[in-house]
């Protein structure tokens, strides 16, 4: 809502500087965004009168205008077609900063000689002054404009752009803001009741009004003015409309808009002669009906829409837009003015459905008071008589089926302090509320108050609303600051949250970078990782911003692969990314399952390029090592088993088994999949873990192992065995020996030194007893038993 301070001053005195007043409005809930100063650049521009117009001695198309400034007269050369002697015009002296009518640039006015005649200044167009885009002629000021006065004093203004919150229908009006200003600056508003003489016939003889659907229209008021003359509205009104962000059209239309800005009540003007049967029926549209609206569009109507109809057809979409047939046009002489109250929900639905959000609909949908309708109507009728002439019918038509008695709000004496934490005297509460025109009286004999809410405050319904009114007027600075003094509530453990945070920290410790990718992905991205169509169908957004973000992801893979691809283009070092996030899995007639997942991706050089490090490449065992570290630290026991996956390479993929169940997978990304994401690095390793599967183990209680009191005994052995034997099985066999404390595999070899089809594993075995120092004999015996088992199970022999 754009509000002119000059206009505001019609209803309330403004003594504060514009910036301070804006601050007060902002703090109390009506945030002032921009403050525009109209005429801030009009230094050296004055009001002058055209005293004489003479021919230019050297040019037929130019004239010499003598401009009277009261104390001096100036001669200027002008080519403007619309100048006449006696007109008042804005006159810029040398040194004024004006907008060039052709280039739009601001330039300083310099002395000039045009065709041999000196020009001492310039009469200005609206465009040159920055008032509008009109550059067709000199701006003509009203004849009562004071000669010689700086233009900024006469036309200058300050415009606030106020962000009105959705609860305050009343503040979408100049009068509404004036009431706020009055309360905030300790003043009263001065709003005069509109009045005019009614010289025509009684209105009831001219029009009958029927509200067929009172649930959608609580009140309908109308007045009739005959004999009006359509023309432009006066300059002052046009200026205020422009300041309010509206375009002047004609006196009648401008008046309806002007009163809407002034009172916050949308109005509509009908050409009375186009209303068939002298009948207004407010009713739901029928299914087969349509209406050409003012913008020339044909609108198909349905019974969810409220229309204003005459005897036969709809003539307007109630509260949204008028119909073309009953539009006020130049030959119109009889005006039926409508000021009605329509159901806010119906207006909102209709305007959204037809994509016709307007100044009117935005006011109706916030819920304005039906009490406003006749007041705004009278004001508009008064202006119509003043500015367009004619005769007003006697009285106004007023059908008010939705009249409700307004109940006062009970304000219990404790409530204000219970909500605000601030003790206020009853006297102060009453005074603050009175400044907003709420009236208080004691409720019975108690110290509770019964508060009568002014009709325009449709947002105030209960005691806490009043508490807010008090707080915003006295200012929140007065409320004390205290810390919560009540007892800290019992807390419910959140193991998943803890697990996620631990996982993040551990992976960061492993040198991985956390990323967060979009939850919404494209179907194409999901297809890239789902060549075999194994993923569950993704949930679709009905109104996606783009196809790129249309489906809720059912896997973290597309996001990570894309993040890898985009970083690969500029990263010289290896890339190690992980994400802890949700995937969304469809459930019938319920919200989707939001499954917490961990996924990681890595590839490229293992170490940062350095004079100290080699140039090895990250591979499967880097990813596995990270996972082992993660699980070890989480105290989760895992097994890795060969597995297959549609986007991972067979033979380089393992599933992660936790508690006998598959909890995730790790493997080298299939080159085909990598290519789909435009990844060129090889290999790329990806892992994916379902966090809930770790949960039963991650939080498990564990006990510490005492530090051995006796020395251990380490033996290194090198085994030769079939290349196909899994190293983990060898390790398991060795670990089954009761004296073995730890087994470390430190070399794997196949090649010239071992027979074909065989491999060599070198292991360091640490023997340890908690009770005593082991003798060499005991260790030898244990080692021999291990060798026997390995021989039996895998045909393993010691490498000589």
């Amino acid at each position: 809502m754009k509000v002119s301070l000059n206009w505001l001053k019609d209803y309330v005195n403004i003594a504060l500087p514009a910036k301070e007043l804006a601050h007060k409005l902002t703090m109390s809930g009506n945030e002032v965004g921009r403050i525009d100063v109209v005429g801030g650049t009009w230094e050296h521009v004055f009001i002058g009168q055209v005293a004489a117009l003479d021919k230019h001695p050297n040019a037929d198309r130019l004239k010499l205008a003598t401009i009277d400034l009261g104390t001096e007269r100036m001669t200027v050369v002008t080519g403007a077609p619309n100048l006449e002697v006696g007109q008042k015009v804005p006159f810029a002296k040398i040194g004024a900063r004006l907008i060039d009518g052709h280039t739009g640039q601001v330039a300083e006015l310099k002395p000039a000689k045009i065709r041999g005649v000196k020009s001492e200044g310039m009469a200005c167009s609206e465009k040159e002054l920055g008032i509008s885009d009109n550059h067709e002629g000199i701006m003509i000021l009203p004849s009562d404009a004071p000669m010689g006065v700086p233009l900024s004093q006469y036309l200058g203004d300050t415009i606030y752009d106020i962000k009105v919150t959705p609860n305050r229908a009343d503040c979408l009006s100049v009068i509404g803001i004036a009431r706020e200003v009055a309360a905030l600056t300790g003043q009263r508003t001065h709003i005069t009741e509109p009045g005019y003489s009614e010289e025509g016939n009684p209105i009831d003889e001219a029009i009958s009004i029927e509200i067929a659907d009172p649930d959608l229209c609580s009140r309908y008021c109308a007045s009739l003015v005959t004999g009006v003359k359509i023309g432009p509205s006066p300059q002052w009104m046009q200026q205020r409309l422009i300041a309010g962000g509206m375009r002047p059209i004609s006196n009648v239309v401008d008046i309806t808009n002007y009163v809407m800005l002034e009172y916050g009540q949308p109005l509509h003007a009908f050409d009375y002669t186009q209303i068939k049967g002298r009948k207004i029926i407010v009713r739901r549209a029928r299914n087969d009906e349509s209406l050409y609206t003012l913008d020339g569009m044909k609108r198909d109507l349905n019974p969810n829409m409220l229309v204003i109809a005459d005897e036969k057809d709809p003539i307007a979409l109630a509260g949204v837009m008028g119909g073309a047939d009953s539009e006020v046009i130049d030959p119109t002489t009889s005006i039926l003015l409508e000021s009605a109250n329509f159901n806010n929900i119906s207006i909102r639905r209709t305007s959204i459905k037809l994509n016709l959000r307007s100044e009117a609909s935005s006011r109706f949908e916030r819920g304005i008071s039906p009490e406003l309708a006749p007041k705004a109507l009278r004001r508009a009728t008064q202006l119509l008589l003043e500015l367009a002439g004619g005769k007003a019918a006697k009285g106004i038509a007023d059908v008010y089926p939705g009249k409700r008695e307004q109940k006062p709000v009970l304000l219990p004496k404790e409530r204000v302090s219970r909500v605000l934490g601030l003790e206020l005297s009853t006297d102060r509460i009453q005074k603050v509320l009175a400044s907003l025109e709420f009236s208080c009286k004691p409720a019975g004999t108690s110290r509770d108050l019964l508060v009568t809410v002014p009709y325009w405050r449709t947002d105030v319904r209960m005691a806490d609303d009043l508490a807010e009114e008090i707080a915003r007027i006295i200012g929140y600075d007065e409320i004390p600051t205290t810390l919560l003094s009540c007892q800290i509530p019992e807390q419910v453990p959140a193991p998943m949250l803890t697990l996620k945070e631990n996982v993040r920290d551990l992976l960061v410790g492993c040198g991985m970078q956390e990323v967060i990718t979009y939850s919404l992905v494209s179907q194409a991205a999901l297809d890239k990782i789902d060549s075999q169509g194994k993923l569950r169908p993704a949930l679709r957004v009905a109104n996606p911003m783009s196809t790129e973000q249309e489906y809720l992801r059912t896997s973290l893979r597309p996001g990570l692969l894309a993040a890898f691809a985009s970083n690969e283009k500029h990263e010289k070092d290896g890339i190690k990314l992980f994400e802890v996030g949700r995937i969304y899995l469809h459930r019938t007639n319920d919200l989707p399952e939001e499954r917490e997942m961990l996924a990681g991706i890595l590839g490229g050089p293992r170490l940062e390029r350095s004079w100290l490090c080699g140039e090895d490449t990250l591979d499967f065992y880097d990813a596995k090592g990270i996972l082992e570290t993660l699980f070890h630290r989480l105290k989760v026991k895992t097994d890795f088993k060969p597995a297959e996956d549609q986007s991972l390479l067979a033979g380089k993929t393992a599933e992660v088994i936790v508690g006998g169940e598959r909890a995730g997978i790790v493997g080298e990304v299939h080159p085909k999949t990598a290519a789909l994401f435009d990844i060129s690095a090889q290999p790329i390793i990806l892992f994916e873990i379902e966090l809930a599967k770790l949960l039963p183990f991650a939080g498990a209680v564990y006990r510490y192992r005492p530090i051995p009191r006796f020395p251990g005994n380490s033996r290194d052995i090198a085994l030769i065995l079939d290349a196909s034997v899994a190293a983990s099985r060898v390790q398991e066999v060795i670990e089954s020996s009761p004296l073995v404390d730890e087994v470390t595999l430190f070399d794997v070899y196949s090649g010239e030194q071992v027979p074909p089809g065989k491999k060599s594993l070198a292991l360091s075995i640490r023997f340890q007893s908690a009770e005593r120092t082991l003798t060499d004999e005991e260790v030898n015996k244990a080692q021999q038993q291990i060798m026997d088992l390995l021989q039996r199970d895998f045909g393993a022999t010691l490498r000589s």
Binding site: T165, R418, V419, L484, E514, S519, E571, L577, Y584, S610
Partner: protein, 346 residues
């Protein structure tokens, strides 16, 4: 005999002085102090000497032995020092060469910020709770006093899920804020409650430098007997001080959210200009950081909390906004485009 000892002394010392390595030192020790050395021989042969001579020669020989041992120790020390000095000289590093790289990863800046925020509130007795990102209209809007067709729905441009119920309605959506968790938590607990909810939210919003369709919020609320707006002010002002520094000033101004009454917006004084006015704060001196208010009595009633007994406050804030302000980030889209050149800066 005595002259023989003197001769030995002179020879031993002159040899010792020129020794500069441990091996030669050992050889010297063997030849002058070893079992077969002349001095040892002399000491062994003392018994065979006449008493007079034995006393004088014994004293002299023992004195020489002690002297040689001390000299050896001293020379050993000198040799050791020289060894170290040589080693140092030989092992000089170019300390300006870069160190061996270690790899430590990083948390995403949004995670870092959320942790910081949650940390401050948990220290004040709040419990962290998470909730669903795909929500019912009821929790996201209806239960928060934003019924169908309420004009305040315009404040939350919504992405709706492609799902229709039996009545042909489309009640499933991507939550537009973390506030639905107020209802979910209160439905399942009795007061007192003190909870914060970090999480992703979504908006139907064309993205540009200041708008994202996905971002994080942290919601917080507390309900008990006797909670007032003064507690809200105290809690949030303390939060702002801990997050932005103790010199920061904070203020409340009236604002509107349908599920609180009274509703406020909190701002802190601009940390670039300290309130004087600069481009960051649009020359207002203040930077908005969150919305808050006292939980609306109708919301409490909806979860069967009696508003005559219980009062509560709620607040919600954007997460990315804090690092955006703190580090002067000029494009919110950087957060989820996951460019390492951006992420590695935090």
């Amino acid at each position: 005999m005595l002259s023989k000892l003197e001769e030995l002394r002179a020879k031993a010392i002159s040899e010792l002085d020129s020794i500069s390595d441990p091996k030669s030192l050992e050889a010297w020790r063997i030849s002058y102090l070893g079992r077969k050395s002349p001095l040892t021989q002399i000491l062994r042969g003392l018994a065979a000497l006449p008493l007079e001579e034995r006393r004088a020669a014994g004293a002299a020989a023992n004195e020489l032995k002690a002297f040689l041992e001390t000299s050896l120790a001293q020379q050993e020390e000198i040799v050791k020092e020289a060894e170290i000095a040589r080693a140092i000289e030989k092992g000089r590093l170019d300390v300006t060469l870069p160190g061996r790289p270690t790899t430590l990863g990083r948390l995403h800046p949004a995670t870092q910020t959320m942790r910081q925020m949650c940390g401050i509130f948990t220290a004040m007795g709040f419990e962290v709770v998470e909730g669903p990102e795909v929500e019912w209209d009821y929790y996201n809007f209806e239960a928060l006093n934003i019924p169908q067709d309420h004009p305040a729905r315009d404040m939350w441009a919504t992405m709706w899920m492609d799902y229709q119920n039996e009545k042909g309605e489309r009640p499933m959506l991507l939550r537009t804020h973390t506030s639905p968790m107020q209802i979910r938590v209160m439905e399942s607990r009795r007061p007192p409650v003190r909870v914060i909810v970090p999480g992703k939210v979504y908006r139907y919003e064309a993205t540009d430098a200041t708008h994202e369709s996905m971002f994080y919020q942290v919601e917080g609320f507390a309900v008990d007997k006797n909670i007032t707006m003064a507690d809200l002010k105290g809690t949030l002002f303390e939060f702002a001080r801990r997050l932005f520094g103790k010199e920061r000033k904070a203020r409340f101004r009236c604002d509107y959210f349908p599920f609180v009454e009274p509703g406020v917006e909190m701002a802190i004084d601009c940390f670039v200009c300290n309130g004087a006015g600069c481009p960051l704060c649009s020359y207002s001196g203040w930077i908005e950081i969150l919305g808050a208010g006292m939980i609306h009595p109708d919301v409490l009633r909806r979860v069967n909390y009696d508003p005559d007994i219980y009062t509560g406050f709620a607040f919600g804030m954007g997460v990315e906004r804090m690092p955006i302000l703190k580090y002067g980030i000029d494009d919110i889209r950087l957060f989820y485009s996951n460019d390492l050149r951006f992420l590695k800066q935090f």
